[in-house]
Symmetry: C2
Subunit: 599 residues, 2 copies
Amino acid sequence: MHASAISERIGQLQKVMQAKGIAAAIFTATDPHFSGYPHAHWRALQWLSGFDGSSGILVVTETAACLWTDSRYWIQAERQLQETGISPMQIEGGNTLSFAQWVVENIPAGKTVALNGQVTGLENARRLEKLLSQATLKLRTDYDLISEIWTDRPQLPENAVYEHDARFTALVRAEKLSALREKMSELDVNWHFISALDDIAWLLNLRGSDLPYSPLFISHMLVGMNEVRLFIDEAKIPDMLRERLSADGISLRPYKKASSALAELSAGSKVLIDPQRITVGMLEAKSENIAVVEGISPSVLMKSRKAQPEIEHIRETMEKDGAALCEFFSWVESALSDKELLTEVGIADKLDAFRMEKEGYVSSSFSVIAGFGANSALPHYRATSEEYAVIEGQGLLLVDSGAQYLGGTTDVTRVISIGEPTDAQRYDFTVVLKGLIALSSGRFPRSVRAGMLDALARSPLWNRGLNYGHGTGHGVGYFLNVHEGPQSISYHALADEHTVMEEGMVTSIEPAVYRPGLWGIRIENLAVCCKVEETEFGEFLGFETLTLVPIDTRLIDRSLLLQSEIDWVNQYHACVRKRLESHLTGRAKDWLIERTQAL
Amino acid sequence: MHASAISERIGQLQKVMQAKGIAAAIFTATDPHFSGYPHAHWRALQWLSGFDGSSGILVVTETAACLWTDSRYWIQAERQLQETGISPMQIEGGNTLSFAQWVVENIPAGKTVALNGQVTGLENARRLEKLLSQATLKLRTDYDLISEIWTDRPQLPENAVYEHDARFTALVRAEKLSALREKMSELDVNWHFISALDDIAWLLNLRGSDLPYSPLFISHMLVGMNEVRLFIDEAKIPDMLRERLSADGISLRPYKKASSALAELSAGSKVLIDPQRITVGMLEAKSENIAVVEGISPSVLMKSRKAQPEIEHIRETMEKDGAALCEFFSWVESALSDKELLTEVGIADKLDAFRMEKEGYVSSSFSVIAGFGANSALPHYRATSEEYAVIEGQGLLLVDSGAQYLGGTTDVTRVISIGEPTDAQRYDFTVVLKGLIALSSGRFPRSVRAGMLDALARSPLWNRGLNYGHGTGHGVGYFLNVHEGPQSISYHALADEHTVMEEGMVTSIEPAVYRPGLWGIRIENLAVCCKVEETEFGEFLGFETLTLVPIDTRLIDRSLLLQSEIDWVNQYHACVRKRLESHLTGRAKDWLIERTQAL
């Protein structure tokens, strides 16, 4: 994107703003469905600014344009905004409302600020409105200011929807809808409106391919006590599937009609909405004669707790995924010893290729992060065909990757040493490993919030003056989003009452240390929360590690480990070897045996 | 109190309620100042019910009376309410609003519920009102229903107020007020109303003796930018002190006039109130022409962070307090070996006596908890002259006690073994000790909420299927309340944004295990939060243990400790010996040497 094209777009926008009397316009990187990877149709922020990070906030005023990003994207924003006239701004810590502060300080009282309500969550809009109103600024959410000027806006995709193979689902659609309706009854509502694509896919046992990395399809859904209205482009649904949906009481409505879904409900209806998972725009057409009850979508909690058959499929999937990683790492090491030229980009492609061969593979679950040397210190690094490192000499190679399989979603990070590691690298690696072990083997009473568990993983690091800037664990879907709530092992998540760690939840555990300019270490497993014991003090939960990939013992300083930690590593490697052995042959199998030797 | 007298009072109340059209009246154990130990003048709940626990909620309707208590008081309530006609009810877990649920279920819609706004916090009243209004019940907070029938209500005390000796204060009054006014300017207010007695005492460097255990005086305070209005019974202030206060711009107003304090502010005033620390009644007379800003009282945060000179005084105070405990425990053991008859009540008195001899002693900071054998398993046990255990045979003796000194407030729990401990007792004791060590020696980044730290202390217990029902640490005042906020090491405190653990905060660290019917173990030290190091990952805080009392090594199973834990115990005991040695002679000194031997 040329900087001049960006300046021109901002100029056009400013004319539209002037015509409508808007003093400041705010753009975020979200869509109407709160997707992790919004479709290009909704990437207005990117179109307007040229910045393509997954998160950012652009504010355009009559005379200025500023784009706020968090620390992951400071360097990228600096580069991508060069000569566009847009100033890069930094979000420090968790101060996500700093852009609003700027608006309050720079826009005269009484003026109007615009934000597209079609892609803004109700709760976020309310928070912003409160802040602006204290400065007597007015917030309008009913303008989509760029629709007129974004003439080559990408169309929404028309990819087909398909059923999640019944061999892999624990409950049929009707059972899930019936469980949801039970929760709706408890909440005394007779309708529930859902915009979150993973909730819709999970409830209906349907999958799609509208978005990269997640098997989702673009739609909204209104669940009643006797019927379901699915707002979706009809062309996406094959005829036979339409009949099967109809048999379950699910009728199709055009996607665009979703905005009037709440307007059409009969008087006296009581509808449940989730203020974190519905846009403010979706409520605008709501009729005055219906009652709205706010609360978390029951399906968010339901789908977060995996059923036993699902966990069994995930275990099988982990064997395939682990085998692919053994094939990959053994190939990397053998290619390097054969003096082949490997680059970060090349190995990422090769990793995808190994996974694609596995039964049940559907897609990657995010773009591979392969960082060598100093690049491994950038938690969200992505090598590009223009900028990448060659893997040579001594250094740490960090590979964070995952895939979507019919039987589950994976996400794993391993670091291997290229050449002989230094003592300092082994120290950092071992301390991170201690954090991984502390949480993976830790127990805690039922009803503890997931955020609390962050202290268990971080304590071995904190005690040595180390830390990392991201969360320790995110929930993971079942052949769904690789980032799934409501639980989150992060001390920033403490304030949310819906973050309790429950049996059946799958979470990543990924402590880390990043030494800018030197190396980065992150070890990431997926684990499922399970009941460990019941004593006179109550029920205690813990984790079963699901991920099956050797941890590079050449990077472990044994003298820093307690005996119990050494035992954990040895038991883990014995299990990895036992479970993967039959999936591997030749070089990869030799590598597995070598890399799972007891400490 | 005879049960018949209670029934009669409830009957009189019900008549008043009927006359005023009140369907249910709610009574809590609070006062207008949110005191931990309200004066008898405000113990309406106790007068009405005969129940004298520190916490409880009484609901009286036309036909019934029920009293809710948490698990600490279930047995006591059962006993004290016998034959009164009042039904004891149980608050399970943290469900403190279960009484409101009961009201909603038992009072017909449209009726009126009364709660005395003079002793009810604004935030609590709002929460209750919201709940009741959902059931279309009306809440009135402007009735004090028992004032007519409580004819022998105790008068408020008239004890003299005195200045906290300047040798022990870090800042003079004027400096503290000036710092407060700076915060008020930042918040854009010109008045701040304070009802919390410890905040008033701290800001003015004054102390009193109106309440048991805390050196407080009953008053409210309105701080302006140029003047301070102290609402207090004038007779409590000696003439010379009044002049000194006047020199600092502090004028006296009658205590009863506090309720019109906000009514008298000139139009356009902006007043800061803390909704957790002001009663709903206090706001009722507020003029319409003033603006109210809600937020935590700045003094809450200011006084929680002790200044270096204060910490130095606390260190000295801990030597005196520790010496008293050595004298006490050596006396207990020697008396027992001399076959003296010791009871829980007798030793509590003796402990007070040892402390009273120490320079700077003012009072105990709470009533001594001395529990032997199965009694030690009751966290809030208080032996009485009617019910107590004799200390004999084998068992654990738990002693939790503390005192107010001019140079600080103490709170310490130790458990000693009477006779040879069992392996099971040593197991529990050692695991609790591991929890104490984990948190006492743990480090954490600046800005971590105190609640998070709970996981560090509990993890060694959780990993073994153990737990305890109370928090791990409460803040402690400086010659003020032994329970002081805002920080709290408790996972229930996670949701409060003001609970960050900061440098200078003094906290208890008190993990525990209770085996009902068998024994209870709690080891409690006070510690001050301090900066430990600064690395490229930020600033790390930790704790300096302040309490200086040997931990009974006869109860430690060394095989359960890591070498680092053994080192911690040995270093702690070396420090205790070094610091206390010069304060002790004879039997107590011998005991100190014996009990601080290295493991």
